[in-house]
């Protein structure tokens, strides 16, 4: 078999990824796997008769190729101070812990994770929260330690996400509490609305309260008022609280008109509705507007619950902190012990293995080690360190295990400062500023009209007061408060279905009027593992195996691409020598193998590019690495200025010419990136930054809007406004044009609700606003606005092109 067929055309029985041909062993009837990780998950499931997992949904398994942690990583969970961070409650020997499982994605996941008790008798029960991507496990702490629960999840292919600051518990329960409260408020408002409406409708039929039979004339007003009081005091409380704090900021704290919110006119309208109704009913001068009042609160609450649910579905509040190690192995006298990183002090000897992050500045004790500072500097080629040299926190050990001596205590603040340059995001976003300024203009307008109407009706004070309250009632901008959030929420949900996750609904507004789109290169535009082009290589699979075995000895990116994810197996390696900038040679299973530049390998064409390979003195051919740009075609359609900011050297500059012309910056440190973004912002441009990870984290924060891409669901995204998949980065173009569509949708709803206000105000100032008319037009306008918003958001998302 030739090595150039990279994939055998067989799907892995666990994850469905293509099985590399090199891994094809065994006969046809046995299931095949793409990697050892997938095989072990499959065998674990099989031994517990849980293979239904694979029949419940098509692509249940998640590829195990990228898993990092090992069993010892989890031991730290058994330390009381760490355990307590993740524990929801503990009674006697039973504890309940909540684990975040970012890779949870389908019904099979729910099925499996709900039945963890079948894997270990110590586990009492487990229950999945699919939306929050979390599983709560109740287990007997005597029978199975917390670390083993985490390790079981890991072995099942669901690596739990453990963060330094602990579980999601606190935030989750606060969220659940708000949601429960909203439901209670909604229940009470709905109850009052339905009953008050029954009283009102019978009054409307009879021709007014005063036309009803005498006993009902007394009963209905009293019941209406009694039912409305809890709506005013409890259900409508969020609006009153918000309006009150806004008013207080304006008046007492001298925050100026900037603190004015749209909730103030809403609260004013509600209050006017209630007070006017009570006066009408008590004095018997009218039928009151309590049906409109309770209905209004009910609709507003329903809108708020929809928003709350949209928000809950997208919990990607994962910060760069997720990359921090939770623990490290400390070497004592003849023993190694896993300790929480807070416990590391100066002088401790740490043992770090491949892909582990250095938790604090250290001195290298081993003769040599390779450290990848991509998180810090953005350069993806590992740096060679020799004995006695300082290895800085944030570096990642590549290849061989390294022993280090800590020279600083671990400080979270310091670790964070590596990536985070303090640039506090403005608290109020564009959207809030726009809507609140609108709220101010709106209130002033309403007040002006009310005053004019009052003066116009003046000799008759009662009539004048009636008109003023009518103006306040009809001018309550409830349709306006609903329009934008509902449109944005609907847009956010529609985008979520297409694999684009927004931090908050209002992010859409931030995506408007972008002038510059800045891209990071490696990992964002191109994939981290460059594709290996083996078409110019003539090798048998045995020879290819030898080449791979030698490549495992090098940390060079090309070598790593050669090894890929395949299981190389055991080979005897001898006389390995690596020549920086040239290549590596060695004797594998007794056969000499050379990988390197043309001259190093003695290729026939001495000056040709690429990585050349020779086995047993015979020249086999050349390998090329290709940076593959995702979705170049669609990115070219971006009307905004495109800019490339890369931490890498300009080695494949030519490749990006077509997309960026001369707008390319190379060798940029994270700080350079931030400065570039800030310079653009100072020049009055609105910048959208598209990046992948840690080395961009501060640039992402500095930009007006940030999009971070992830190559798989298990990779963590830093805090940013939008998260999407790296392969479909072209969606950035669609996203930006969709945002402007949404703006017009909101604009339509605004125009409509202004029309409603004009008509309503006309009725109000002429003294013709009756309870019946209010009861009809107020809910109607809200429903129409919701209709426009939801329909618009869904219609336009279908008109865009998504990948």
């Amino acid at each position: 078999m030739l090595a150039k067929t990279n994939h055998s055309g067989v799907a892995c029985a666990h994850c469905g990824e293509p099985v590399p041909s090199i891994a094809l062993q065994g006969n046809d009837n046995e299931p095949m796997f793409c990697c050892a990780g997938c095989r072990s998950v499959y065998e674990l499931l099989q031994s517990h008769q849980m293979c239904d997992y694979y029949t419940l949904s098509d692509r249940a398994g998640v590829s195990q190729q990228a898993l990092r942690n090992t069993e010892t990583e989890y031991i730290v969970l058994d330390k009381p101070e760490v355990t307590q961070k993740f524990t929801e409650w503990k009674i006697g020997g039973t504890a309940r812990m909540r684990f975040q499982i970012p890779t949870m994605h389908c019904s099979s996941c729910v099925w499996l994770l709900d039945q963890l008790h079948r894997f270990d008798p110590g586990i009492r029960s487990s229950s999945v929260d699919f939306v929050a991507k979390a599983v709560a496990v109740e287990f007997d702490i005597e029978q199975i330690p917390a670390s083993q629960v985490a390790w079981l999840l890991h072995r099942l292919g669901y690596e739990p996400l453990l963060r330094v600051e602990g579980g999601e518990g606190v935030r989750e329960s606060a969220h659940a509490e708000t949601s429960r409260q909203l439901y209670t408020r909604l229940g009470i408002a709905g109850f009052a609305f339905a009953n008050v409406m029954v009283f009102s409708v019978s009054a409307y039929y009879a021709g007014g309260m005063t036309e009803l039979p005498v006993e009902l004339q007394q009963l209905f007003p009293i019941l209406s008022i009694v039912l409305s009081i809890p709506v005013l005091l409890y259900s409508a409380q969020p609006w009153f609280a918000s309006a009150w704090s806004g008013l207080r900021a304006v008046i007492r704290d001298k925050a100026g008109w900037r603190a004015w919110t749209l909730d103030i006119p809403v609260a004013l309208g509600m209050l006017a509705l209630f007070v006017r109704s009570v006066i009408d009913l008590v004095t018997g001068t009218g039928d009151g507007f309590l049906d409109s009042f309770t209905g209004l609160v009910f609709f507003l609450l329903a809108g708020r619950i929809i928003l709350h649910k949209t928000y809950a579905g997208i919990s990607f509040d994962r910060t760069y902190r997720s990359f921090f190690p939770l623990s490290a192995r400390k070497e004592g006298k003849g023993t190694t012990e896993v300790v929480a990183i807070e416990k590391i002090v100066v002088g401790d000897t740490l043992v770090l293995r491949n892909a582990e992050v250095v938790p604090t500045d250290c001195v290298l004790l081993d003769p040599v080690a390779y450290v990848d500072y991509a998180f810090v500097t953005g350069e993806s080629v590992p740096v060679e360190c020799v004995q006695g040299q300082i290895v800085y926190a944030g570096g990642r050990i590549v290849g061989k295990t390294a022993r280090l001596s800590a020279t600083k205590d671990v400080s979270h603040a310091y670790l964070s400062s590596l990536w985070e340059r303090s640039s506090p995001k403005q608290e109020r976003t564009r959207y809030e500023r726009i809507s609140d300024r609108f709220g101010l203009v709106f209130t002033i307008g309403t007040m002006a009209i009310a005053t004019i109407a009052f003066v116009a009706w003046l000799p008759d004070v009662t009539a004048a007061l009636t008109v003023v309250t009518a103006v306040l009632i009809i001018a309550c901008p409830c349709a306006l408060t609903i329009a934008a959030p509902v449109a944005l929420g609907a847009a956010m949900t529609a985008l979520g279905k297409r694999g684009i996750y927004l931090r908050a609904p209002r992010t859409i507004v931030d995506l408007l009027d972008i002038d510059v789109v800045a891209f990071d290169k490696t990992g964002t535009l191109t994939s981290h593992n460059s594709q290996l082009d083996t078409s110019a290589l003539q090798a048998t699979s045995e020879e290819w195996c030898l080449v791979q075995a030698l490549a495992t000895q090098s940390t060079h990116p090309v070598s790593q691409s050669i090894v890929g994810n395949s299981d190389v197996g055991k080979h005897s390696l001898d006389a390995i020598e690596e020549f920086p900038g040239k290549g590596i040679r060695g004797i594998v299973d007794g056969i000499p193998v050379l990988i390197g530049t043309a001259s190093f390998v003695n290729a026939p064409l001495i000056n040709s590019e690429g990585t050349h390979v020779a086995v047993d003195g015979r020249y086999l051919g050349v390998l090329h690495t290709l940076p593959t740009i995702h979705d170049q075609h669609r990115l070219q359609q971006l009307p905004q200025l495109r800019l490339l900011i890369s931490g890498d050297s300009p080695r494949d500059e030519a490749h990006f010419k077509a997309l960026f012309a001369d707008k390319m910056l190379f060798n940029q440190t994270p700080i350079d990136k931030v400065n570039t973004v800030e310079r653009l912002k100072e020049a009055g441009k609105r910048v959208l930054m598209v990046g992948d990870g840690l080395n961009d984290a501060s640039a992402l924060r500095a930009a007006d809007v940030s999009v971070s891409v992830t190559s798989s669901t298990s990779t963590l995204a830093p805090a940013s406004d939008v998260v999407m998949r790296a392969e479909s980065i072209g969606n950035v173009a669609s996203l930006l044009s969709y945002a402007s569509r949404i703006r017009s949708v909101i604009w339509y709803s605004f125009v409509f609700s202004m029309l409603y206000n004009v008509v309503g105000l006309g009725l109000a100032v002429s003294g013709q606003l009756t309870p019946v008319i209010t009861a009809i037009i107020m809910p109607l306008s809200s429903l129409i606005v919701i209709g426009i918003s939801v329909w618009g958001a869904r219609y336009f998302v279908r008109r865009e092109q998504w990948a």
Binding site: A11, G16, V131, Y183, P213
Partner: protein, 61 residues
Amino acid sequence: MGVVPLLVVCSIIVAGGFLVAFIYASRKGQYDDMETPSIRMVFDDVTTENSKSHSTTNKRV
């Protein structure tokens, strides 16, 4: 018509009972997670018998 006020009060009390039940349910977390149970309910039929007789064959890509 004298019975109408009595009926109105009775109906409000009955409806109030449902309101209390609703509030109780939402306080107990009945509406916290509306997504997972809808996935969970489809499993019961499959789990019992297929587990033992299941054999996996690789799908062609």
